[in-house]
């Protein structure tokens, strides 16, 4: 990152001249829980895209893409709302979610959650 501007070069009164500048700000660093997306479980319903209170669910050509981790704050609303039989979004701690085996673990969690739900129904 380039050196931030000094007082002579900044707009006066703390004004921000560019619109939509929140995109440049890494608010994902605030996250303590991380959502993991399991592509094979995803039914492309776009609930997560609608419910995300930020804009951290990316969509390209009508298909859901990976999370925008630079802005996701880990609120977990997407995981809660995901209607797939085996959840396509699982919340893990930031530390666990950053490990290489995170996706495999997430899949196991989703599977277990589906089984428990089925058991509870019986």
């Amino acid at each position: 990152m380039s050196k931030p501007k000094g007082w002579k070069d900044l707009p006066s009164g703390g004004m921000i001249k560019e619109a939509g500048n929140a995109a440049q700000y890494n608010t994902g660093a605030w996250r303590s829980d991380r959502p993991i997306w399991i592509k094979e479980n995803c039914i492309q319903c776009m609930f997560c895209w609608i419910f995300c209170p930020d804009s951290s669910v990316t969509v390209k050509d009508g298909e859901r893409g990976e999370f925008d981790y630079m802005h996701c704050k880990g609120c977990g609303v997407c995981a809660m709302e995901c209607p797939a039989k085996e959840k396509a979004i699982v919340m893990m701690t930031e530390a666990e979610g950053a490990r290489p085996d995170a996706l495999e673990k997430a899949k196991a969690i989703a599977k277990k959650m589906a089984e428990e739900k089925a058991k509870a129904k019986k």
Partner: protein, 394 residues
């Protein structure tokens, strides 16, 4: 041709506002400033101005409405006193922090408790650190003149700061005095079209953000900008005061010096009490005592180099404060002047008198006593108590 009229200080300020014709005014009443907006609302109702007058539910809301309107790109004015100013407190900092050149007429009144509606300067003195330019007036003429100059000072592209124009509650606000008003067209021309912001929020083609979060990484840069703008305001106040002099025949600077050039004893006093002090200066001069007076006009930014230069010849000086800074080494004006004179090669003796709180009258006798104490001080070289209350019952 200038018109000679008889008006209260409040009506004089309201008349200046009519001639300025601001885009937005917010109004919430508080004695003794109420009459300004009351009179102005008549101008609005009569269609003499195009102003959008917003009647709000508190002074906090009044200043908030002013801030919104100024950020939107309007020329904005307002009036208040005492506890009304106190309730605006956090918004005062937001107005200056966002660099919005709002003009506020502060009709000086004592702060509660005990509740009191009369004049002292505790309200505006408390706001001295809020990033507002502060200008003080001795009489209705000066209050009018300062109000006409205020927008040009605050809106200057290198300043862009809110301006507080102060006068004494009741003593000036409610007394009828003769004064000269400029023609409407002269004021319109003098104030000019509004250029207080380059980025109005109503310019929807160029959206900007006001009031964003600035943490450790940007806040201090913002304050440094304000610090520099305040310094720049000094030059602009002089420039505008000179231009106003050309127009009206009444020039304005940082302060008025009255028989000060060769004075051995001098008093520094703000606003209406300066008028009383001039009478005593004349009386003492007739007796051969070299008395002088400095009446500050610009308090923020404080012209510390210029006041030091003006007072350097005096051997004893009394700064009179119509406000106390409880527990400090004297009132707010005293601290400022004493600090300004510290760098003089020969420092004069200085004392402080706190007077007239809550509208307690300060008469000729009171001020004569102050000068005579200074004469003793200059002759004996013996220090008096640093800070004392006068006009108080023992």
């Amino acid at each position: 041709m200038p018109k000679k009229v008889a008006m209260t200080g409040n009506v004089a300020v309201a008349s200046a506002m009519r001639q300025i014709n601001p885009d937005v005014c917010a109004a919430y009443p508080i004695t003794p400033s109420t009459e300004i907006m009351q009179q102005f609302s008549t101008f609005v109702a009569n269609g003499q101005v195009d102003t959008n007058l917003v009647t709000v539910e508190s002074e906090h809301s009044a200043m908030s409405a002013c801030i919104g309107a100024a950020a939107a790109g309007g020329r904005v004015m307002n009036a208040t006193s005492a506890n009304g100013l106190a309730l605006m407190w956090e918004m005062l900092y937001i107005a200056s922090g966002n660099r919005l050149p709002i003009v506020l007429s502060c009709v000086n009144r004592a702060l509660s408790a005990p509740i009191n509606i009369h004049c002292d300067h505790s309200d505006s003195m408390g706001a001295r650190d809020s990033g507002w330019v502060q200008i003080y007036a001795e009489n209705a003429q000066e209050a009018y003149d300062n109000t006409v100059q205020a927008p040009r000072i605050g809106e200057h592209p290198e300043v862009r700061l809110p301006v507080m124009s102060c006068m004494d509650g009741f003593i000036i606000s409610h007394s009828i005095e003769n004064l000269e008003l400029l023609d409407d067209a002269q004021v319109k021309d003098f104030v000019g079209p509004y250029k207080g912001t380059s980025y109005p929020l109503l310019d929807i083609g160029n959206p900007v953000t006001y009031g964003a979060l600035h943490l450790q990484d940007f806040y201090i840069e913002s304050k440094k900008q304000l610090h520099e703008a305040m310094k720049k305001a000094k030059d602009v106040v002089l420039e505008v005061g000179k231009a106003y002099g050309k127009l009206s025949g009444r020039s304005y600077g940082f302060f008025e010096d009255y028989k000060l050039a060769d004075a051995e004893v001098a008093v520094v006093v703000l606003n209406s009490a300066a008028g009383t002090a001039k009478v005593i200066v004349d009386e003492l001069r007739a007796k051969g005592i070299k008395a002088g007076l400095l009446k500050p006009r610009l308090f923020r930014p404080f012209p510390y180099l210029e006041v030091a230069d003006a007072l350097k010849g005096a051997s004893a000086i009394c700064v009179m404060d119509r406000a106390d800074s409880f527990g400090a080494a004297g009132g707010p004006l005293f601290n400022e002047f004493r600090s300004a004179l510290y760098d003089l090669p020969v420092r004069p003796m200085m004392i402080n008198k706190i007077y007239g709180l809550g509208g307690r009258d300060v008469g000729l006798d009171d001020i004569r006593k102050v000068y005579m104490e200074l004469v003793d001080l200059a002759q004996s070289g013996k220090a008096s108590p640093l800070c004392e209350y006068i006009t108080v019952r023992e």
